[in-house]
Amino acid sequence: MRYKINYPHIVHDTIEDETILINLKNGNYYNIENSGTVLWDIIEKGGDVNDSCDLIAKKFKLAPEKIKNDIEIFISNLLMENLLVPLNEKDISSFEIKEMEVLINEKMKKYAAPVINKYSDMRDALMLDPIHEVDERGWPTMNEDLMFREEAENELNPDHSN
């Protein structure tokens, strides 16, 4: 099965081993981790995700059913968030299995199930001090100390809570 990125509503980039995305229609921010970054790359190039399952299973000597299941969950999340749309049968892709194999061999050093994280409260995330108020998981996750402090302040001053 092939998909395409839901342009022009989606903008994305890959930084280090993380793919970052914005759905411009609603402002939601996403990051894709683990093998998901390589899968996103394959999808963008028009590759068939079923082929990628077989190649990943072969490379890491894992059960193809497990990989297939992981990838199905990942793709259904991407579809649910309108980040992808299915590619029509008539849309021809020039991305061949051999190229996909090279990509997987080069970029996927170990296998961990693809993960997509969604962040919808971006107004607060934009106000965060990125040096002091961000969790170890990275922006836009607020660090826990700050989260507890805000909760405590809201409990003490319920009128000022959002």
Binding site: P8, D13, I15, I22, M122, P140
Partner: protein, 372 residues
């Protein structure tokens, strides 16, 4: 309270950070270490330096060694990438609205530089989106913005800015800011007629919507002319803007045209000073012919006065009447093309009359004596 203004040329710490952002990978880890020895990354440092951090991050990523604070730098980059994408998106909606009314647009500054100079959407922080429209369509563009829930930041200045300014700031309730230009910089005015930047403009797609950008030569001129002046926010980013533009658009810069524009808008002194600094500190290669041609441009007294004023931090003096008048004279000189002292004095008098809504001589003196 008086504003603290900062020099457009960097101090020692800022210069080390700029080298971390711009030098080849072999040296940047060393500069980053040096900067961290001088400045505590986790305490306060100036906003001009903070705005360099996304670029610092991207340059440090090229190093193969372990980099202190790399994850925190990445946080700054990611936040900036998100902010920029939102600004590009909002900007593209405005461009579409203008297109529907046949109002031409040129995207200025950050959005265009991100694409042409940096080739990266997250390294160049922006606080607003800058869109230029033709001078004769500026009023129509402002009306359209107001009908789309944008509010002019200083409504009373519209008439004055149309005559002597270059832009108006608009803000929306949700916090988005837009700088609507009709000239790219103050010096680029010619008796309020449309300047020639439109003829050389190049196609540029903003978030999927077709618009235009200044040509690379005009972009470079705008970066230097706008950047080289004291500013409340340290304006040092003219340095990475210029370096990246010259490195990445070198073949597209029409240097003969650049020199003509420099001469035409009387900004040769600024350009010379900028190029001297970039060559000495960042080993930037500027074609010899450009240097030679720049040296041959005669610098008028008006240009010298405007340049030295832009390089001075003398806000304390502005409270005094004659200093206030002198500052106004420099504002007038910056944008006028009048030559000769007598013509300039007449022009300045008209400028003052316009600024004070047609007051007579005594009323003007009184107005500026009591004005804070």
């Amino acid at each position: 309270m008086k504003k603290a203004y900062s020099n457009p040329f960097p101090n020692k710490e800022q210069e080390i950070l700029l080298k971390t952002a711009l030098f080849p990978p072999a040296d940047v880890a060393m500069y980053w270490k040096e900067w961290n020895n001088l400045i505590d990354f986790e305490s306060f440092f100036d906003i001009g330096s903070f705005r360099l951090m996304p670029l610092v991050y991207k340059n440090l990523l090229k190093c193969e060694t372990e980099i202190p604070f790399i994850h925190k730098l990445k946080n700054i980059y990611l936040q900036n990438w998100y902010k920029n994408q939102q600004l590009f998106h909002e900007g593209s909606k405005i461009v579409s609205e203008f297109e529907l009314k046949n109002i031409k647009t040129i995207i200025l500054k950050g959005a265009a530089l991100s694409h042409f100079a940096y080739k990266d959407k997250g390294v160049r922080p922006m606080s607003d989106i800058d869109i230029m429209v033709p001078y004769n369509q500026a009023v129509e563009a402002m009306k359209l913005l107001k009908s789309n829930k944008w509010k002019a930041e200083f409504e009373n200045y519209i008439e004055y800015n149309l005559k002597f300014g270059r832009s108006m700031m608009f803000r929306r309730e949700d916090g988005f800011e837009l700088d609507l230009h009709w000239h790219p910089f103050f010096e680029a005015q010619e008796k309020n007629k449309e300047a020639d930047f439109w003829d050389k403009a190049i196609p540029f797609e903003l978030s999927g919507i077709q618009s235009q950008s200044l040509c690379p030569a005009d972009m470079l001129l705008e970066v230097i002319v706008h950047g080289l002046r004291y500013n409340p926010i340290p304006p040092i980013r003219w340095i990475p803007d210029s370096v990246k533009l010259i490195l990445n658009c070198h073949n597209e810069i029409d240097w003969d045209y650049f020199i003509d524009q420099t001469r035409k808008y009387r900004v040769a002194l600024k350009v010379k000073k900028a190029f001297d600094y970039l060559k000495d500190t960042f080993n930037l290669s500027i074609p010899e012919a450009v240097d030679k041609n720049l040296k041959q441009i005669r610098i008028s007294y008006a240009e010298q006065l405007v340049y030295f004023d832009a390089m001075q931090q003398d806000e304390d003096e502005v409270d005094r009447f004659f200093n206030k008048l002198y500052k106004l004279f420099l504002i007038y000189l910056r944008q006028t093309k009048d030559r000769g002292l007598i013509r300039q004095m007449i022009g300045f008098w008209r400028f003052l009359r316009f600024r004070t809504a047609g007051k007579n001589a005594f009323a003007i003196v009184w107005y500026y004596m009591k004005k804070k």
